[in-house]
Symmetry: C2
């Protein structure tokens, strides 16, 4: 498993997190550049610890950016948003944090917490609350496991910091937080949830940072050998290559603080064979005609067919030649408690969730590789 | 001047505050019932002190409800919103409040702070930051005098409490606060600003609670003697009766968290002689044809022609027979610092502010009456 993150790891983690982002989580190119700058500035590596190294009575907080991926490439962060948020929360609670938790491993939200770890001088836990990216705050294993949503913090690029001190539910947090994020310019640092080490360990999806790194390493290796990486990545993640083709249509609008829309990928040869993907920041549903091939919480990941570069919702455009992967969700997302919160019905779809075989992190190759 | 508020005072204060509300500040009938219930429940009067009785190093906070008047009659408060907000702020600051300040003397916002005084066991200062009601947070003498907008608190009927810990400006507070108030259902308790006794004394408009009481007493006296009260109220406040007639048209919509619209009052005899009033929660501009008769910050107050009952924006309807008063603003609102914040241009109008003669609180009868 990862013990640290250095400049040698940033590209792989960015690629892997971008793929796990299933379209969302923020642009990883910008996130990677920011992480590399922070590593150079602080002149040390990010300390990575396993969840089980955290004491039961430790105070930890998950961090990330809230907002639309389309905003993430237009409105760059100042870089202090998450730090400001953590400091405000520590001041409010009169207690220091002991470790940083990655809120969602997908997209740039895997990278921001590493920068926060450097800024705060704190270790970052290998794991997250989603095993992928999701658009809404309540869609994580911490909420599903009953961790309180309050207090949580939003901090923007102008130094504004808001503490939601009491909040009825994570769903309420999503509604209030989304509204304020829009006022903050469509993107804001989110510190949520704040919890004990014990609560974190009971709910976190372990080793997802190591998984992101392993996926990225696989892509980089394929690039070196001029092999299209889709099959290798799918195999590593227990999934499959669902479709390959060319993006022929993108409907995308930034509304209510989300990037929402629909994407059409056409087969290279049979133009009438088209995969349609609905997205809300993240890819939600993939179908061919009336046949649903994959739905949340399973992962629908779009990558460049030659280079395996993850293509976020903000970067979708006509003409891109892509492979679409279908990866099984982590087992934690497929419980009877989790599915109403983050399955198709949570997004207003009437589709049943028919899980892909297997689970995202059940790969012996991956686990063996990582126990080095 | 007022030293306490008892059940004997509530009707007069509600009437006076309703008139000073210039349409906004929340429905005073509901506010009065709530205050009377609180007085009975706590079985004591509200202690009223003058601003100058507060020590320089005291901690005080202005309180009120944020939202549209149209919401104030549909979504009743639970009654603990302001208390919850004050307690959260005290917890955040680790310091107790020493006195309650009325944020705006207009409408139910004159009455809520009195309830908060009972609930917290704190005195309420005779005065406020507006001398009337205004729709937006930055439109008060505390902001104009340079009192910091942060931290401020919003609390809703469901127990949700948000602390805006750092905020760039009062205008930013208005934007963030309005957005969250809408999410909170269009109405929320506002604790803002938090300040020292010294800051409060340097900026508060003094004796406006006593003024509200005196206006209400005047109306009640006229009712007893079957005299239409418009002239008497105008005289007490150094103003004039601008128009009398029947409401013949109301355009009103609740949008962006405000009650916005336009009102037409027709002369009883000459139907073509019509007064048009634009409002945003409060009445902003009164004109006959192209002739502007009165603009913010001077007060445009609509009352029932027979009974002097204040008619809030939420209660405007076809057929009401009304007197429209034009009362001069308090002198504090007419400075070169204040007018850009709360004059016609602050609402997007190109009209010049041509002040009415005199000032709201410069009335020897009022001041003599009150020094009992």
């Amino acid at each position: 498993m990862l013990k640290q993150v250095t400049l040698n790891d940033t590209l792989a983690i960015a690629i892997g997190a971008g793929i796990l982002g299933t379209g969302g989580g923020g642009n990883t190119y910008i996130g990677r550049i920011r992480l590399e700058n922070a590593l150079r500035e602080h002149n040390k590596s990010v300390e990575i610890i396993s969840a089980d190294e955290v004491a039961d009575d430790a105070l930890v907080c998950a961090v990330g950016m809230m907002g639309a991926p389309t905003v993430s490439i237009e409105k760059l962060p100042t870089g202090n948003e998450i730090l400001n948020g953590i400091r405000a929360l520590e001041g409010h609670l009169r207690q220091k944090m002991d470790a940083i938790i990655i809120g969602e491993i997908g997209g740039a939200n895997a990278l921001g917490p590493l920068i926060a770890g450097l800024q705060c001088g704190l270790p970052v836990v290998d794991g997250d609350g989603m095993g992928r990216a999701f658009p809404e705050l309540q869609m994580d294993t911490f909420n599903i496991g009953g961790v309180s949503a309050d207090p949580f913090v939003l901090a923007d690029a102008h130094g504004n910091v808001t503490i939601f001190e009491r909040i009825g539910s994570a769903l309420q947090a999503e509604e209030f937080g989304r509204s304020l994020t829009i006022e903050m310019g469509g993107s804001a640092a989110l510190i949520m949830p704040v919890m004990t080490g014990k609560e974190m360990k009971a709910n976190i999806i372990r080793n997802t940072l190591s998984l992101a790194k392993a996926i990225g390493d696989k892509v980089i290796d394929c690039r070196k050998h001029n092999i299209p990486p889709a099959e290798s990545v799918a195999e590593l993640c227990n999934g499959e290559v669902m479709f390959t083709g060319k993006i022929i249509d993108v409907e995308r609008r930034t509304e209510q603080g989300f990037s929402k829309g629909k994407l059409t990928v056409s087969d290279f040869v049979d133009f009438d064979n088209q995969l349609i993907i609905d997205f809300q920041n993240e890819n939600l549903i993939a179908r061919v005609g009336e046949t649903v091939l994959c739905t949340v919480p399973d992962l629908i990941c779009i990558i460049g067919i030659e280079d395996g570069e993850p293509i976020g919702t903000e970067s979708l455009r006509y003409g891109l030649r892509v492979a679409v992967l279908a990866l099984p969700a982590p087992i934690e997302l497929k419980t009877s408690e989790a599915l109403p919160v983050l399955g198709p019905s949570a997004f207003g779809y009437h589709y049943q969730f028919n899980p892909l075989a297997g689970n995202l992190l059940d790969n012996s190759e991956l686990m063996n590789n990582q126990t080095e």
